[in-house]
Amino acid sequence: MRSIINYLKEIIFGVWSLLKGMKVTGSYFFRPGTIVTQKYPSNRKDLVMFDRFKGEVVMPHNEKNEHKCTGCGICELNCPNGTIEIISKTIITEDGKKKKAIDKHIYRLSMCTFCALCVKTCPSNALAFSQKFEHAVFNRALLIKTLNKPGSQLMKGVE
């Protein structure tokens, strides 16, 4: 007799536990307000990334097309996987001295692991992260970027 009671108990508890699970899924089914899906390409305009989001490394330029990069090469040294390559040139300043300056700051997005060591160690804060996250391109060569804009110069007062 006891075994029969246990048998029935087992069934009732089993069914009850199943119903509890069905309550969870069922309650979500009838509450479409809880849906979390984002319609990505169509909500692109109002998609705001967090301001610290590490999209890609950029070199901010001001309106006079000046940047802060002195071409010291610390970012290149600190990069763990050779993402950054600095090609420097020698220029003659106004007071006639020879000085090293940046020619090309080459950044390979395809190799970057976004460890932020370059941005953090830069002594003149010349580098920053942009919030751009759509990096897909059809040609791998497009992922090799020159960060300093053509014709740009070192900002006054940055050594």
Binding site: I11, L18, G21, M22, V24, T25, G26, Y28, F29, P32, T34, I35, V36, T37, K39
Partner: protein, 379 residues
């Protein structure tokens, strides 16, 4: 408005309301039959009618299949806090049609060392089995292809034939996962067929016939799930569980079990052959749901409550086809709800559930039902 209707229906002098005539499809089919006879010999009439019915069922089959795939994706998405398909067409309703085209154009990859003939035959067996079962289902009054006097038996027998296709697919694929899936499916369907049969027998005892139209007609004054006291309700639950198992749907989808066997018996299929398996799964679900609706929930019979004449009158106004589809989709929704809530069973637990729980309950249930019918305690 309401008192008038009540007055109309209760007055004995009034003839049958017009919609009752329109909702009775037998006059339409008889008219088609008669007019065809005028033009052709009886032989060609039969051939033409068969063709018309074949095309109609084929169309219905495709539409239902596509709709069910869409419905399943939407239902599971809403249960999982997602939107589901929402790109192709408004609310993504053309998504499955796009999928169909994708499957049609996909390459049929030939499998090396597979048994070619059986490999190609398997999807057709699966789809034909489900196709044949549709023929005997009454969609509305006078709207069924064939009204066999052993309708229930026929539908059960034919829909169970699909397992041969599954076994063949698993065997001929020359894939170890597929073979395990097929063997699981075989064991599963052989055992659960028993429960499906017994739970329907419970109702057959109550109805006294195996003819589906008679079973539906017997539910004019109340659905069997209400008429048959608790045994009918238990039979309904058992039927739901075992038919879910028979159609290889979660939580009994061991034959596919994508986290264990990748895709089970149809791992190696691609393109339209895979689509056949996929479609057959959904049509099988539709078939078992419509059997459940017909046998337990009164088929196309509207919902009537005792002496609420006005209420019953309004219920009569809803077309029987809508009733039928509504009930079927209710059962289908239940099955989807099961699938998207529960974890999967293990093969030995699946068989334990059948032989240790469902079968004894069912046998006792049949006895009680027979007793109730003998004593005349049912409504």
């Amino acid at each position: 408005m309401l008192p008038d209707i009540v007055a109309l229906t209760t007055s004995p002098s009034l003839s049958v309301p017009w919609w009752k005539v329109v909702y009775d499809f037998s006059s339409l089919t008889e008219w088609i039959d008669a007019s065809l006879h005028n033009y052709m010999s009886p032989f060609w009439t039969t051939i033409t009618e068969m063709l018309i019915i074949g095309v109609l069922i084929l169309l219905f089959y495709a539409v239902i299949g596509l709709f069910l795939v869409y419905a399943e994706r939407k239902v599971c998405a809403f249960m999982q806090n997602r939107l589901g398909p929402n790109r192709v067409g408004p609310f993504g309703i053309f998504q499955t049609i796009a999928d169909l085209f994708k499957l049609l154009f996909k390459e049929l990859i030939p499998i090396k060392n597979a048994d070619g003939f059986l490999f190609n035959l398997a999807p057709f067996i699966v789809i034909i089995a489900s196709f044949m079962a549709i023929a005997a289902i009454p969609f509305a009054k006078g709207l069924h292809a064939i009204d066999l006097n052993i309708g229930v038996l026929y539908v059960m027998a034919v829909s169970a034939m699909g397992v041969i296709g599954v076994l063949l697919a698993g065997w001929s694929s020359n894939n170890k996962y597929s073979l395990i899936g097929a063997m699981r499916s075989g064991a599963q369907i052989v055992s659960y067929e028993l429960s499906v049969g017994l739970s329907i027998i419970t109702i057959i005892i109550l109805a006294g016939s195996m003819q589906l139209s008679v079973i539906v007609e017997a539910q004019r004054d109340g659905w069997f799930i209400f008429k048959g006291h608790i045994p009918a309700f238990i039979a309904f639950i058992v039927f739901l569980i075992s038919s879910t198992a028979e159609t290889n749907r979660g939580p009994f989808d061991l034959a596919e079990a994508e986290s264990e066997l990748t895709a089970g018996y149809h791992t190696e299929y691609s393109g339209i052959k895979f689509a056949f398996f996929f479609l057959a799964e959904y049509i099988n679900m539709f078939i078992v749901a419509s059997i459940a609706a017909t046998v337990f929930l009164g088929g196309w019979m509207p919902f009537h409550v005792g002496h609420w004449v006005g209420f019953n009158y309004i219920m009569d106004f809803i077309p029987p086809f809508i009733w039928y589809i509504g009930k079927t989709f209710f059962v289908i929704f239940l099955m989807m709800w099961f699938k998207w809530t529960f974890p999967r069973l293990r093969i030995d637990q699946l068989l334990t559930l059948e032989w240790k729980y469902l079968l004894p309950i069912n046998l006792v249930n049949v006895l009680i039902m027979a007793f109730i019918v003998l004593m005349g305690w049912h409504f």
